[in-house]
């Protein structure tokens, strides 16, 4: 079963990389694009046929390693 995971910085955490990307877009004339926040995208496969069990495993992998919940949020979908 395949999943995709999005890990993003919490809104109160400064994202200087997103800001730098936003500035660079401004430099190439795309200055109406604002509030860029950079994050991480994972795809993963779970060897499990039960969707609920698989979701629990993905959630656990996010909580234990893929995201640092002090600074990041995560969400995931089956794909």
């Amino acid at each position: 079963m395949k999943f995709e995971v999005f890990v993003t910085l919490k809104k109160e955490v400064l994202d200087p990389q997103g800001k730098a990307v936003e500035n660079a877009l401004g430099d190439i004339g795309l200055n109406t694009i604002k509030n860029i926040r950079q994050g991480k995208y994972f795809t993963l496969e779970v060897s499990e046929n039960d969707e609920n069990k698989a979701s629990d495993l993905v959630k656990s992998s996010c909580e234990k390693l893929l995201a640092n919940q002090t600074i990041e949020n995560f969400k995931f979908n089956k794909i």
């Binding site: 400064l14 200087p16 640092n68 002090t70």
Partner: protein
């Protein structure tokens, strides 16, 4: 006194720490991260470097290493634990210290001497310094921007857990004297039990005049007290 220095793939300050510890007659053993046990010691050091190439997040993979179970047990029993630079990042990833270390505000790797204020000298790691003393120790990091939410920062202040702050020559603590954007100019913090310290500056690089200074010596000398 005995110390263990944990070596991860990508650690690069491990041998410098050993040299510094041994300069102060602290008998040091290097312990590979895949080990399931380590010799009994008074202090464990998580050294600087780029464990696991800083993949995913700095310190995240190292925090899940085999040996970290033993390191956490050591700290839970009250043993001294020091995380320097990448070691500090590993400590926040394990949850032994609160907060997280983000990319430097100006997105640059910074390698230079900085002025630090000793905010708390009543810890086992800073007792050789005077309170509000200014020391000069090098930093070398890309992710040293200490972040914690408002509640955690308040707790750190109320419990006197902030040990080192970035300052200027005249002890001013402000945006100009903050090299990386850290909340409250934080350069080093300690846990509530006062036996686990994390710091971005590298005291081990600052224990010989020939290397530019000896202000880092106090950290190692304090341990001996």
């Amino acid at each position: 006194m005995k110390a263990n220095v944990i070596v991860f793939p990508g650690s690069n300050c491990d041998r410098d720490v050993k040299v510094a510890l041994e300069k102060f007659q602290i008998q040091t053993t290097m312990v590979w991260h895949q080990e399931n046990e380590m010799p009994k010691s008074d202090v464990v050091v998580l050294p600087g470097g780029f464990s696991y190439g800083d993949y995913l997040r700095c310190g995240s993979m190292a925090s899940k290493s085999n040996i970290m179970n033993e390191v956490i047990k050591h700290a839970d029993k009250g043993g001294y634990l020091i995380g320097i630079c990448n070691g500090f990042q590993i400590l926040t990833e394990t949850g032994l210290l609160p907060g997280a270390l983000l990319r430097n505000k100006k997105l640059k790797f910074i390698c230079k001497y900085v002025n630090l204020l000793i905010e708390n000298n009543s810890t086992p790691f800073t007792s050789k310094y005077k309170k509000n003393e200014k020391i000069k120790i090098p930093i070398a990091h890309n992710e040293g921007n200490y972040f914690a939410d408002e509640k955690t920062l308040n707790e750190l202040q109320n419990n006197e857990q902030i040990v080192l702050k970035y300052c200027d020559e005249n002890l001013n603590i402000n945006e100009e004297s903050n090299p990386n954007g850290s909340c409250l100019n934080i350069a080093g913090i300690i846990n509530k039990n006062k036996n686990v310290i994390g710091m971005m500056p590298h005291p081990e690089r600052c224990v010989e005049n020939i290397l530019g200074g000896t202000d880092g010596s106090g950290i190692f000398q304090s341990l001996l007290n």
